[in-house]
Symmetry: C2
């Protein structure tokens, strides 16, 4: 009988086995590489992968373990890194030919944090062009004729295909939660400003978030605990007390959580089978869920997010425009053309409309609800590879910087994964994961 | 022989006498009020003043002193407050008829800090219209046919006229240093982000600074030490260690300071008598000063400041525009019209050009110089009350958020005060005042 590949383990399981001396990082990484060799020709999740370099990192992790020094929580665990996140030892091409072969000067803050925790930086995962909508080569591991979603396409697919237990992505509209849901991952986008973004391609300071892909809530907590923190070079981070994600996740909620189910003004566009699945979910939750109307003021959120994204991306990606705008996709060029014409007056008005909306949702949480339940997308991953699906069910929570997680708890009529998105109160991220675990158990 | 009015004392002198039990706050405030009665009909420094309310505050301060409780460093000292800074107990009209009789909901952060330090909030001083260029009624105490400068016209004039020893103002282009110099005050605009601005009319988050008017360096340090601090409601403040302004000011610099004299591209416009005066100053400093060319990249600073100011003021003052733009001056309306048409692309480019300029000046300080010497204005206060003078010699330092102080060390050919502006390294504000004291002694 063939032994089970270590690539099927979650990061938490693998870390535990390594601590117990039952497996080594090298064995784990070898199994992951084997899995990659087998599935990459179909999935195309990787933009850069140097097997030898990964194995050397694994051996170093094993050596740290054997030497008896205290090792980090991710010692020897392989992590895929979206190719807009700088790595000092691997190219970072940002999904554009204009950055072909680009070697960053240093690790992004999050990569440095992963390395400090002992992780093996496995390689770079495919991103859409500049983390916007033009797809890369990645396919959905559940059905290669379907999109994996984007822009963190390779990260979402690599975790789902069991090529790595963990991967990092980023979200400016819906680029973590949507591909996470399409690929059947656990995916988590913490509160804006919790995870430092220096060394990551900036699309929009206002909207950019780092996100995590994994195959369990434990793993999301494990990584989040390492990545959250103040960094002088990300002006949106703040010094704050350590967030004990893993500890909080293991607690029982003091009371059964109360959920607000929010359909948003875009519910009509949700697929019929998904609507049915959510109806069943609501029924299963009984008196623990109530349908809540979106605050009226939040109805403009989609326009506001677009105004901010267009204006800030046009500015932040101007060096690419100058270097060769004819090398950009029409999609991206169109966005930048619109962004270059946006008035500062409208842009600032958009920025100013955000805090009152945040305050409105704060009330929701302080008054009655532990989390918002809402779809992560219009349904399962759409067929076709020419687009990455619609981020419409992520945009509001990205704009407001609220923590969001998607759990692969259901399936669509086509058998593809259907996620459940939960959105929490800003800066109560660990509690959101705890509530998510309650939901997961409840529906198990 | 008539006794000398207590209104002639600096705040530090008055505070010392009060601590020694030689005078009371009520006596001090009465003398200030007497001085106001005598000079206000010419100077017109005050927008709101309630004598009884001031006296009641003074009595409360005296009562605190007598009771033996620990009192703040400004206990019983009267302070004038520019009328764009909210006071919960007095109207704040922002220099526009559209806010006539406006009662703010609470004290601005700086007013709360002054009260916590025991200060008597004397009244509200005249501001230009919305702290922009359209003059109020104030005249220069040294010659009422000349402008006091603006926009902190009343604060600058009230301190110069010995109506109060201290006053607060604000600077978005040159609204503290310029009127301070025109009126012969000591005036100080600390590093951007050191003094919280919540509760102050926002013109431009990027450019707005709180500033202090006084009649000595000791007094500037005394007030700065109370006002600098983190505030959750001003996103540009940061938690940081206490800045011991008074202690540092009393130290001898370890080495005689080295000054960089910077003429800027606008030197040609400086008045002939002022040019002569600065030439004498340079000569007096001998080998402690060198003329330094402005970094090339800083040559655009004036355009950049205008782009930011126009765009942000158009956005921040939009409620006034909507409420009645025909009630705004043509000057302000023109600014807002331009600001409403500014492209977000140009606005963001302007914002992004600031950090590299700051870095350029950092080098100047780390390599060789303790402070920059430069004029605070084109010369003495111009004749006429229809304009408040040109902020051209303040704009660069406001844009870069560098600390600036003006000292009334010289006189123009017309006998009016001529200031010396010194600009320091960001966040080394106390050291700038210490260097200023060295200069003051050197030239005494």
């Amino acid at each position: 009988m063939q032994r089970t590949s270590l690539a099927t383990l979650t990061a938490s399981e693998a870390a535990q086995k390594m601590r117990g001396g039952l497996v080594t990082s090298e064995e784990l990484v070898q199994d992951c590489l084997e899995r990659i060799r087998a599935t990459e020709p179909i999935v195309h999740a990787w933009q850069f992968l140097d097997e030898e370099h990964a194995i050397r990192q694994a051996r170093a992790a094993d050596e740290r373990h054997r030497s008896g020094v205290a090792v980090g929580a991710l010692n020897g665990i392989p992590v895929g890194i979206k190719d807009i996140i700088d790595t000092g030892d691997m190219p970072t091409e940002n999904g554009t030919v204009l950055h072909k072969g680009r070697m960053p000067p240093a690790d992004a803050a999050v990569v440095a944090k992963l390395r400090a925790a002992g992780a093996v930086i496995m390689g770079k995962t495919v991103t859409t062009e500049c983390a916007y909508f033009n797809p890369g080569k990645t396919r959905n591991p559940h059905n290669p004729e379907h999109t994996p979603g984007g822009s963190s396409s390779g990260s979402a697919a690599a975790v789902a295909a069991q090529m790595v237990p963990l991967a990092l992505g980023s979200q400016t509209a819906g680029s973590v939660i949507r591909p996470g849901a399409f690929c059947g991952d656990y995916a988590f986008k913490p509160t804006h400003g919790l995870i430092p973004r220096n060394g990551v391609l900036t699309l929009s300071r206002t909207l950019d978030h780092i996100g995590i892909f994994a195959r369990s809530l434990d793993d999301l907590a494990l990584v989040a605990e390492e990545l959250v923190g103040y960094d002088d070079n990300d002006p949106d981070t703040r010094p704050r007390a350590h967030m004990p994600f893993c500890e909080v996740l293991d607690e029982e909620p003091p009371l059964a959580p109360m959920f607000a189910f929010i359909k948003t003004p875009h519910w009509d566009r949700v697929d019929a089978d998904a609507k049915e699945a959510y109806a069943e979910l609501i029924e299963a939750l009984g008196d623990r869920v109530e349908e809540v109307d979106l605050l009226l003021s939040a109805g403009d959120a989609w326009d506001i997010q677009r105004t901010i994204m267009e204006a800030e991306m046009a500015s932040n990606l101007a060096p690419l425009w100058d270097a060769g705008k004819d090398k950009l996709s029409e999609r991206l060029r169109g966005l930048m053309e619109r962004g270059r014409e946006t008035r500062a007056f409208d842009y600032q008005r958009a920025l100013k409309s955000v805090p009152p909306m945040i305050a409105g949702f704060e009330e929701l949480f302080t008054e009655r609800y532990d989390a918002i339940l809402t779809p992560p997308a219009l349904g399962t991953a759409p067929k076709g590879l020419g687009a990455t699906g619609d981020p419409v069910f992520c945009v509001l929570w990205t704009l407001l910087g609220m923590p969001a997680v998607t759990l692969p708890l259901m399936r669509g009529a086509n058998g593809l994964p259907l996620g459940v998105q939960m959105v929490g109160r800003r800066n109560f991220d660990a509690r959101l994961l705890r509530t998510a675990r309650w939901l997961e158990k409840k529906l198990a």
